[in-house]
Amino acid sequence: MSAHPRAAVRPAPPVLEVRGLVKAYPGVRALDGVDLQVRRNEVLGLAGENGAGKSTLLKALVGLVRPDAGEIRVRGERVRLRSVQDAADHGIGMVFQEQSLVGNLTAAENIVLGSEGPGVRHGFYRWATMRRLAQEQLDKIGSTIDPLARTDSLTFAERQMVEIAKVLRIEQRTHDTPVVILDEPTSVLEPGEIETLFEQVRRLREFASVVFVSHRLDEVLDVCDRVYVLRGGRAVGEIRPAEAEPGRLHRMMIGSTAAEDHYHGGAATPVPPTREPLLTVRGLTGTTFRDVDLDVRAGEIVAVVGVHGSGREELCRALFGAVATSAGEVLLDGRKLALTGPRAACAAGVGYVPAERKIEGMVGPMSVADNMTLAKQGVRCAGPVVVPRRQAAVVDRWISRLSIRTPGRRTAIGRLSGGNQQKVVLARWLVGGDVRLLLLDHPTRGLDVGARSEVYRLMRELAGNGVATLLLADSLEEAIGMADRVVVMSDGRVTTEVPCPAGGKPSPLDLVKEMV
């Protein structure tokens, strides 16, 4: 690690200070006396596993959670934050992880939403003023988005810019350095977009303090001036990236000596290239991808990488029958796979873990048990009749096998943590014992390090059992670390294929060159 250029900036007096913050939920002490300081014009990193208290802390900072004890000081003054509005009045704003923009409004309206000021007079909108207000904000971050564009017509990255522009509106209220909290801003961005975001963050530092939250250590170290590590509801350490090395940070986060490179958890046995492919895709064409040829052998993990718009998500969904294709064919074990819908794919032994877990992956209010047996109803039935005992046995077996932490199998899945939810969604395809091809679309999105490792171990174990896996990874490192082969897609076509044998992994940079 080379010395970070911005580490030299002279420490400014804290603009935001947290002392001994405590928040307890029944059975969980989410915040257990957190202390931290945010200085003027610095980028402060917050790292920690899910469950370390990050999200509770952030919610307390923007008034969504009221702490049981401790205090929050803004510019030395003790404050009580009761709402997002309250926090904004004190110059604290947050860019939420699930984007908080209204799709059917214009970018300008979203930017000024809730604080229209001169944009509204006597209840009437003054569009010219609104536009000007929004343009000012967008100019600050150097964005060229049309303020009157409908928000849902923008790309994800553009929407994130809109959101940052929106948060910066709090400057209008305080006329002082605002604190901008970015909660996991990179989790769904592509590599190119992440770089743009980092530039924005550096630009923001010129006139704001930034709290940057991420579970990706490399990012935190790359962009932050200082990093706090949270564990078990406490700040367990403060690090300057200049002095940090990822291994130490990682150990601080999980509180134990984990393998430095968690991708290489299991000993992957190389799949002989001579083995007949289990999945054969020939000339598959859909709305956003063309002429795709692809092979995946049993026991092989193939990662598909590509920038936003490469068509890889659609390809993945098409293989599951969830989006329509116009040409080409797909063979599974030599037999033609009917791409008529998810049902046909399920029956053929294909499983799919969607990226949008909360919307598409799980049925939130339904129990863990029912979510787990949703796709393979046969495991809980005798003939056409459900046998509760059978379901209980199967579900309990998988709960313990995947060490899913849940109060019980009848608990609503929505109440579990993200990692445990994802394990249930994965288990859905495993309970039948007949899955042969797994399509994993960002299976570790939003998961913390511990949960990720478990998912990785599970993927390896499955591969070892002969399951073919197509992986759309969360990061290039993940793709390279997990896959036996990486397929690069660009503009809807497969452009190249890079073998990734254990011991001979390519570097992320090699792949980026192929992607753009």
């Binding site: 939920y25 029944p26 059975g27 969980v28 989410a30 596993e49 899910n50 469950g51 208290g53 999200s55 509770t56 078990g232 509180g255 599951f320 969830a322 819908g341 998810p342 049902r343 794919a345 399920c346 029956a347 799919y352 969607p354 919307i359 598409e360 992956g361 799980m362 049925v363 939130g364 209010p365 339904m366 029912d370 047996t373 949703l374 796709a375 109803q377 809980r380 039935c381 056409p384 009749v385 459900v386 209980a392 309990d396 932490r405 849940t406 109060p407 019980g408 199998r409 009848r410 608990t411 109440r415 579990l416 943590s417 990692g419 445990n420 859905r428 913390d448 511990g450 949960a451 478990e454």
Partner: protein, 332 residues
């Protein structure tokens, strides 16, 4: 992963293998029954004769066609849709039954129920394959069924001269129990068993709570929905049989006015109009509550104007009590 259920409000102490519904949830699910009891007591306070066995039986009898009608539509609501055509379809079925009885005799009513099921399935298919919201499909279905009923009946009531083959729908069993009530309980029990004993249970709930997730888990969402509409249609047909049995005729507008009471019965029973949460048993209770309001208020002597006002007020309060808001995040 050191903390169980990290960051959520779930009490991690109760790590029993099968953490079921909480006490509050159980209380909410019993609310419809409590609402029913309170209503009966209130009506009895105004008119003590209301507690006579014959009076209560008359309520049960009156609620039966409504319960059958609403029970089928409950499945559609559980799937996240709505069926506004049930009443018009029941009217059409009543006309068909009256027309077919002379020719088909004992086969007439099964034929009508089957025809109504097909009509329901057609709407389901239009909803699923043409991707039209169920509200619109069934609103269209409502006017189409009404038109067909007017045309085939010549806009006239069709009298039933020989009702022997459907007399089972309006008689007394075990002394004074209305047979229609037995039919209603049987229909609800059959639907409940069909749903709870088979994987349909989670298929319907998953479809109602989160259609996208259900589809991607390989749940035959389209089939489930078409099936729900078919059952809804069949129930409308069966409700028509009960109505014809007690009216001794079929009419093109006979059951039209039962639409809103049926929807009210579903919602008062505690089934979420947004789908997923609820059940057919609840609708049975809901139908009793709605019938008490429809008929009970006026027969204990509440005047027309105040009856209407009370009906509006009580129905809102009943829903406020029976709705399990923990399962419904945003109330629209």
């Amino acid at each position: 992963m050191s903390t169980p259920a990290a960051g959520t409000a779930e009490p991690s102490g109760s790590a029993a293998v099968a953490a079921g519904p909480t006490a509050t949830e159980r209380l909410t699910s019993l609310m419809p029954v409590l609402a029913l009891a309170v209503l009966v007591v209130a009506l009895a306070a105004v008119d003590p004769d209301f507690l006579r066995r014959s009076s209560l039986m008359a309520v049960v009898d009156a609620a039966a066609p409504l319960a059958v009608l609403a029970a089928g539509a409950t499945l559609v609501v559980l799937c996240g849709g709505i069926d506004l055509s049930i009443a018009a379809l029941a009217s059409l079925s009543s006309v068909l039954l009256a027309l077919w009885l002379p020719g088909l005799d004992a086969l007439a009513w099964p034929a009508v129920v089957a025809a109504a099921a097909v009509a329901g399935a057609l709407q389901g298919a239009a909803h699923v394959f043409l991707r039209i919201p169920s509200f619109i499909v069934t609103l269209g279905g409502m006017s189409i069924f009404s038109s067909i009923a007017l045309v085939v009946s010549g806009a006239a009531t069709v009298p039933v001269d020989d009702d022997t083959s459907i007399r089972w729908g309006f008689t007394r069993v075990l002394g004074s129990v209305p047979s229609a009530a037995v039919v209603a309980v049987a229909v609800v029990a059959a639907l409940a068993l069909l749903v709870t004993l088979t994987p349909l249970d989670s298929a319907i709930k998953a479809t109602g709570y989160s259609e996208a997730a259900a589809r991607l888990a390989g749940v035959p969402v389209d089939l489930v929905k078409v099936g729900a509409f078919a059952v809804s249609g069949a129930c409308a047909g069966l409700a028509a049989v009960l109505l014809v049995a007690r009216t001794f005729s079929g009419g093109p507008t006979l059951a039209d006015s039962l639409l809103l009471p049926a929807v009210a019965a579903i919602v008062v029973g505690g089934t979420a109009i947004t789908g997923g949460h609820g059940g057919v048993w609840r609708t049975l209770v809901g139908a009793l509550v709605v019938t008490l309001l429809r008929v009970g208020l006026s027969t204990v002597g509440v005047s027309a104007a105040y009856e209407s006002i009370l009906y509006g007020a009580i129905i809102v309060v009943a829903v406020a009590l029976t709705l399990d808001r923990s399962k419904v995040l945003v109330v629209k």
